[in-house]
C-alpha cells in the first residue's frame, strides 16, 4: 500500500501525461512531430485538418495543448481553428505554425503563440513545455529522447 506521503517522483510518474493535439495536413510533417512528442512521453492525438480537430473536441477528448498549422485545406484554416478553440476552450493554449509571418489578431488571443516553419523539434518541444507550465498542465522535466 502506498504511503500517504507520496514520493514526488512517483506522483510525477503517475500523473496523466499531457495530451497534445497536432493539427497538420502534411503527413510528412505531422508524423515526425507526433513521433517525437510520443518519445517525450506526451500523449498525442493527430488531426489532418480543422474539421478533424473540432471532431476531437466535440467527442469530449481531453486536450491540454494544440499545435496547429495555419495553412490547411478545407473550409477552416489554422487561424479559424484557433478562434474556435479560443471561443469554446478559452484557457487552452494553441501554438500556431506557418512558413509565413502571421499577424495574430481578430479573435486569436494571447493564449496563442507562434513558431515559424521550419522549426527544430527540440525548439517545438521547449515551446510546448513552456506553454504547458504556464497553464499548470506540466510539472515534470521531459528530457530529450536519446538519439537513435
Amino acid at each position: 500500500m502506498a504511503s500517504s506521503r507520496a514520493d514526488p517522483s512517483v506522483a510525477r510518474d503517475n500523473a496523466r501525461a499531457a495530451i497534445v493535439l497536432v493539427v497538420e495536413d502534411e503527413i510528412l510533417i505531422r508524423a515526425p512531430v507526433a513521433e517525437y512528442l510520443r518519445r517525450l512521453r506526451y500523449t498525442v492525438v493527430e488531426a489532418a485538418d480543422a474539421a478533424e480537430a473540432i471532431a476531437v473536441f466535440v467527442s469530449g477528448e481531453l486536450i491540454d495543448v494544440v499545435i496547429c498549422d495555419v495553412d490547411m485545406p478545407g473550409t477552416m484554416d489554422g487561424l479559424g481553428l484557433a478562434r474556435w478553440i479560443n471561443r469554446h476552450h478559452a484557457a487552452l493554449p494553441v501554438l500556431l505554425t506557418s512558413g509565413r509571418r502571421i499577424a495574430l489578431s481578430g479573435g486569436v488571443t494571447t493564449a496563442n503563440s507562434f513558431i515559424a516553419k521550419p522549426y527544430r523539434l527540440a525548439e517545438l518541444a521547449k515551446r510546448l513545455k513552456s506553454m504547458l507550465i504556464s497553464t499548470g498542465s506540466a510539472t515534470d522535466d521531459r528530457s530529450e529522447p536519446e538519439p537513435c
Partner: protein
Amino acid sequence: MSKALIVPPPSTILVVEPDILVRMVIASYLRDCGYTVFEGVSAADVMAVLGSGKKIDVVLAEVQLCGEVDGFRLARCVREQYPDVDVILTTGARRAADKASDLCEDGPLEKPYHPQEIARRINLLRERRRTAAQA
C-alpha cells in the same frame, strides 16, 4: 551451429482511416500493443510515407478513403510498388469481401470490428513473413 534467436523489431503500421474518431481508437490500441503507428487519411498519405523511405510493415486502410483513390486501388498500387508491405483493408460494405480477396491476405475486415482482430491479423502477417523468409 544453431542460429541465434533474433527478435524482430515491432511492426510499423500505417493506419489510413478518414474517420478520425475510428482512427484514434485503432491507432491508440495498436500503440498499446507495442506497434509503431502512423496515421493517414488518404491514399496520397500512404504513397507519400512509402515514397519517403519510411519502413512500413503493414498498411491498414479503409476501403472508402478521402480523394480519388479508394482502398482497393491503393492496395493494388502498394502491392505493385512495395511488395514487402502487407495490406489489410477494412470496410462496411459486405460485397467488398469478394473484390478484396486478391488484394489483401485475408479479405477486408468488416466494420464494426474489434481492435483485437486487427492485432491478430497483423501478428498473422508477421508470422507468415517470418516463415517465408526462413523457407
